[in-house]
């Protein structure tokens, strides 16, 4: 760990654990799966196993019999936040919970199978993407989008699922299909009728991080255009979470390496006096993990196509 202030981030997280073992997005707020997964991972990575284990236990209370994990323990349906639980279960060695969740994620049903041929044709005309490609949605049985697809690809790859796995390949196809023609990604609509919609930094960073995790070559035009968009975006104002995801994306590609040091320093400068990032538990843990080069968010080792 090169930045001594990172320990202050851990202290901030540790001091704000809820009695149920989880964390909300803000201090003292109700525990949710995404912030809990990342806070537990950060503490585990930082060597505070006991506190991290209480976070893991909270996540286990959120897991349903089907293996699904929702936004909290009351959410029986499963949701996008389960990507964070999968990362945490894997990173903390909760093998049984990880395996059950992995099976649920790989069997996740989006809306691609619900669209009729006519609807798929209309989408292709109006929004210029292929709605028949399965990916991941924010909630089951709704339309798949770029960001949840990227998050699940990242979590599956970090937990050892090979890039050649059918659902990951399909997710890659979806991300590539939804790219904005002039570069980058938005939430998932490249066009609206004749209008090209603008890319956004967070969507682009997540898409690139997922493609990198899935070993998609950086020579692919979509990747090159995405990296160009990200480089331009980094020239302006950028949010904390987008900056952290951008750093992860840059570390995933050789051509991004030149920017890593600068973005690392920029993200580090956003840390507040209390050790947090904007007082947000999730962002603090995310920043800690990417700045400390924690393996769980680092480049995927092995299992490549």
């Amino acid at each position: 760990m090169t930045n001594p202030r990172l320990t202050e981030a851990l202290a901030f997280i540790k001091a704000r654990q809820n009695p149920d073992g989880g964390w909300g997005y803000g201090p003292g707020r109700a525990s949710l799966v995404e912030p809990t997964g990342f806070c537990a991972l950060a503490l585990h990575s930082g060597g505070d196993a006991a506190v991290a284990c209480r976070g893991r236990a909270f996540l286990e209370t959120c897991q349903q019999g089907s293996g699904a994990v929702g936004i909290n323990s009351k959410d029986a349906g499963g949701s996008w936040m389960s990507y964070a639980a999968l990362l945490a279960f894997h990173g903390m060695g909760a093998t049984d919970a990880e395996d059950r969740l992995k099976r649920w994620v790989l069997g996740f049903e989006d809306a691609s199978g619900r669209f009729s041929k006519e609807e798929i044709s209309i989408v292709a005309t109006r929004y210029r993407y292929d709605a028949s490609i399965p990916g991941w949605s924010w909630t089951p049985r709704t339309t798949a989008w770029v960001e949840p697809t990227a998050l699940f690809i990242i979590a599956l790859r970090k937990s050892g699922v090979p890039a050649s796995e059918r659902r990951i390949q399909s997710g890659i196809d979806l991300i590539l299909d939804r790219r904005v023609p002039s570069g980058g990604w938005n939430f998932g609509n490249p066009y609206s009728k004749s209008f090209e919609l603008e890319a956004s930094t967070m969507s682009t960073a997540l898409a690139l991080a997922a493609l990198g995790a899935a070993d998609v070559p950086e020579g692919r035009p979509a990747v090159r255009a995405g990296l160009r968009f990200l480089a331009d975006a980094l020239g302006g104002d950028i949010s904390t979470a987008s900056l952290a995801w951008a750093l992860m994306a840059l570390k995933s590609f050789t051509s991004g390496a030149a920017r890593v040091a600068g973005v690392t320093a920029r993200l580090a400068r956003l840390q507040a006096d209390d050790g947090s990032y904007r007082g947000n538990m999730f962002e603090t843990a995310l920043a800690y993990l990417v700045l400390s080069d924690a393996p769980i968010l680092g480049p995927v080792q092995g299992g490549k196509r």
Partner: protein, 342 residues
């Protein structure tokens, strides 16, 4: 996108009609009764129509004072007031979001009236990077300047509430942000815009943004699969908007709500019943509100009234400020003929 194209519209009509048939007005007995507030022998509902040519602070302050005084505003004294703007995205080139200068004038007005707390709260629909959008929209600077809380509803603490529609399926239990659930007064401040999926978007549609993305996704896709008109009605029948201020100073026409072009109407539309405000704003845009699926549905379940005879207009005539907005060709049938607006 939601359910697509022609099929989507057919789906909306089918889903909406069948759901409505099973959703009598009496079903709203436990919900806020928003259509039976006749206080005298005058019109059932009151809407203020205030000419406002620009976003200058003095112009806005005067317009809000005038509109507030000539409508039936809520009593905000000692209350926690939540202002819900419309910010589906932010662009330097297109007027997508409710103008922060208008929001600021409203914050000052409510503060002068003695509100205990004013909160600016939004749950963005497409781009979930609220830190970025709050900054680029000017809302973050406004909140700092005026010392009010700025809340990202997408990640707020949540509480489930029972939907007012007993036949609801996808929204049987509506997950609400705590900021909305505990608000004593909710003020919706939409932009006057056309909408590629709903025809137009005003106060009722603006309430899509109160549902948290962490539960409903981005772009709140559960609501699209549930049918846009039905979702709008289920949300608004369950969560009462106490007052609406439509930003029609500069709106958006054409391919809204994001890719359209600026259209100056030079008007604020204000009132306590969101449906009547929307119906009036629609008429100003040259749209027959009865032809807008979700407004017709909202009228039928008595969220309010869109009938011209039920709405008293203060401050002028619709015809005087009518500014026909260019409609998406798919919604050309919404256009009102001259005279319908009155």
């Amino acid at each position: 996108m939601s359910r697509p194209g022609v099929t989507r519209r057919e789906f909306i009509r089918i889903a909406g009609t069948s759901a409505l048939a099973a959703w009598p007005a009496a079903a709203l007995a436990g919900a806020p009764d928003q259509a039976t507030k006749r206080t005298d022998s005058g019109p059932l509902l009151q809407v203020a129509l205030v000419p406002c040519p620009d976003y200058g602070p003095e112009t806005l302050a005067a317009a809000i004072r005038t509109g507030w005084a000539s409508s039936r505003p809520p009593d905000v004294r000692g209350k926690r007031v939540v202002i819900k703007p419309n910010m589906v995205d932010v662009s330097p080139d297109r007027p997508i979001h409710s103008d922060p200068r208008l929001i600021e004038a409203l914050v000052l007005h409510i503060g002068d009236l003695g509100a205990r707390e004013v909160i600016l709260a939004e749950g963005t629909s497409h781009n979930r990077d609220a830190e970025d959008l709050f900054r680029r929209s000017g809302y973050e600077a406004l909140a700092k300047r005026r010392g009010i809380r700025l809340v990202d509803l997408n990640y707020d603490d949540v509480a489930p509430v029972k939907c007012a529609n007993p036949k609801a399926v996808a929204l049987r239990e509506i997950i609400l942000p705590a900021t909305i659930a505990t608000a004593e007064v909710i003020i919706s401040v939409p932009k006057m815009k056309t909408h590629k999926l709903a025809g137009i978007t005003l106060s009722l549609k603006n309430m899509f943004g109160v549902l948290p993305g962490m539960a409903y996704g981005w772009p709140k896709n559960v609501l699209h699969w549930n049918g846009i008109p039905l979702s709008i009605c289920e949300i608004n029948a369950t969560v009462k908007t106490h007052y609406s201020v439509v930003d029609g100073i500069v709106g958006m026409e054409g391919h809204g709500p994001i890719m359209g072009t600026a259209r100056k109407a030079g008007v604020l539309v204000m009132g306590d019943n969101a449906l009547s405000v929307d119906a009036t704003a629609a008429r100003i845009m040259g749209v027959d509100p009865a032809r807008v699926d979700y407004l017709a549905m909202a009228h039928k379940i008595r969220i309010g009234s869109l009938r011209r005879d039920d709405i008293g207009i203060a401050g002028g005539t619709i015809e005087r400020v009518r500014t026909d907005f260019v409609l998406d060709p798919e919604f050309a049938q919404l256009r009102a003929s001259r005279g319908l607006g009155e």
